[in-house]
Subunit: 147 residues, 2 copies
């Protein structure tokens, strides 16, 4: 109220992104929780499933996590026997991470239900809208400011 020129909170892009994401995740989260995975653990496992054995930095980048978060998540997943870590022989700073056979099976099963939910969302939202949205989101993520 102190500034009539301030954009309404409803028009805020960060909040709109947050709400849209929350609406989508509300459909997925219960499916993952039923199998004992958090959203982030699932992202990590999907990336490993898609890319095979990669180092922690690449894994963090591809799964959109910060390294400190990834460190903790990998500890948990390792204790559960879902992933394995080995030091890179050439570069001993690096840790190479990969799925275990056990988790590969678990992922395939969990993926069935998440894919079904994804198709339903795409049905409701429209494939056209979905492509357009992904395109805009990618453009927005590229925006660089001067300075």
């Amino acid at each position: 109220m102190s500034d009539a020129g301030m954009r309404s909170i409803k028009q805020s892009v960060p909040i709109a992104l947050l709400r849209a994401r929350e609406a989508v995740m509300a459909h997925f989260r219960p499916l993952l929780a039923a199998r004992g995975y958090t959203e982030q653990q699932w992202r990590v496992m999907r990336v490993l499933d898609e890319f095979g054995s990669i180092d922690a930095s690449q894994l963090a980048d591809k799964s959109a996590l910060l390294l400190p978060s990834l460190t903790r998540i990998l500890q948990t997943l390792e204790e559960e026997g879902a992933i394995a870590r080995i030091k890179d022989a050439q570069d001993k700073r690096r840790t190479l991470i990969s799925l275990t056979d056990k988790s590969r099976d678990a992922i395939a099963k969990a993926a069935e239900s998440t894919q079904a939910a994804y198709r339903e969302i795409e049905d409701q939202f429209g494939a056209e809208n979905m492509n357009q949205l992904l395109d805009l989101l990618d453009k927005l993520a590229q925006v660089k400011l001067r300075k």
Copy 2:
């Protein structure tokens, strides 16, 4: 690798939303941090600035926070003297929250820099794209699945 039919992680809507949001917040967060606010504290204060005195549930809804998070955030803001809480006289379950004069001034100042950043982002991204994006995000947030 276990399922050739699984959507690539790059095509994941939740991750695309997360990356876009992170790209935008990377511009705002330092501006808020310079004034000692987190992103969430700032959301709360902006809502209060826009709507005046409202109860915790409405505040949580408008600022896109869960109530447990809001409870903690309000404790912090109250200790800092940024907000005040009073019990609703009619309904003693409710707490009415409002800004202090002190924080109203602080918000007006911080808003100058965030608004400038917002305009820059809109310049780069395009007002047309921005409107289209907000429209799609709103549509996506509305999607309901059967069952």
